[in-house]
Symmetry: C2
Subunit: 118 residues, 2 copies
Amino acid sequence: MEWNKENPEQCKVVVALDAVVGKWKPLILLHLLSKGTLRYNEIKRLIPDVTQRVLTLHLRQLEEQGIVKRVVYRQVPPKVEYSLTEHGQTLKPVLEAMHAWGLSHLEHLENFKNTQSE
Amino acid sequence: MEWNKENPEQCKVVVALDAVVGKWKPLILLHLLSKGTLRYNEIKRLIPDVTQRVLTLHLRQLEEQGIVKRVVYRQVPPKVEYSLTEHGQTLKPVLEAMHAWGLSHLEHLENFKNTQSE
DNA sequence: CAGTATCCCCTCAGATACTG
DNA sequence: CAGTATCTGAGGGGATACTG
């Protein structure tokens, strides 16, 4: 926790960022958090603007990081289910903290922009 | 706080990410958090690998967001001091949460990679 | 259904040189 | 000291078409 007292260089904020950054990753994580388990096309439908290519890329990266679990049911037509691993669940409070700050930041930006133009 | 129950679309995680993402932004913020006020070249010395161009860009963006305050002393040679705004300070708990998760994530990656190769 | 395979573009960051 | 100005390259993401 005490990263900032002496040597900020060894802080691991970037590690967290690396896991969460990606145009659609936050949305993917939030949907998995609220729904539990989702099939590939369900995610695609929940996030219409993501392309298949990028959605797959994001999911693969989250899987590599041990954040998302991918279960393939060998059948025709194929069925693939995505869910958060236990470790992935631990992101929830972090995402909530970021969301809360994001909200307050938006408010601050309001009167900040105003005082700028005055 | 309740972004995930029904509509993750309106979650503001991305707002927070937008403010914090940038190759050297976390380090800049951490240094400012621990030192309080720093001159341009002091930051540059604390983060040797950042180029002047990118450091300036990052600082300008943080300033635009109302996170960093920039004070110019009109004198020769010039003196410019950077510090966090009050609002910028509110990022501290968020960064700490990310750092803490980053640490635990690194541990998890250890035995995750191991179980992968088994 | 759940993806690959290509191709393209554009932003972010680095390198280097210059300046009020 | 605290920056600009230019040029450059890498890669993250989009569009479209195809497939086991």
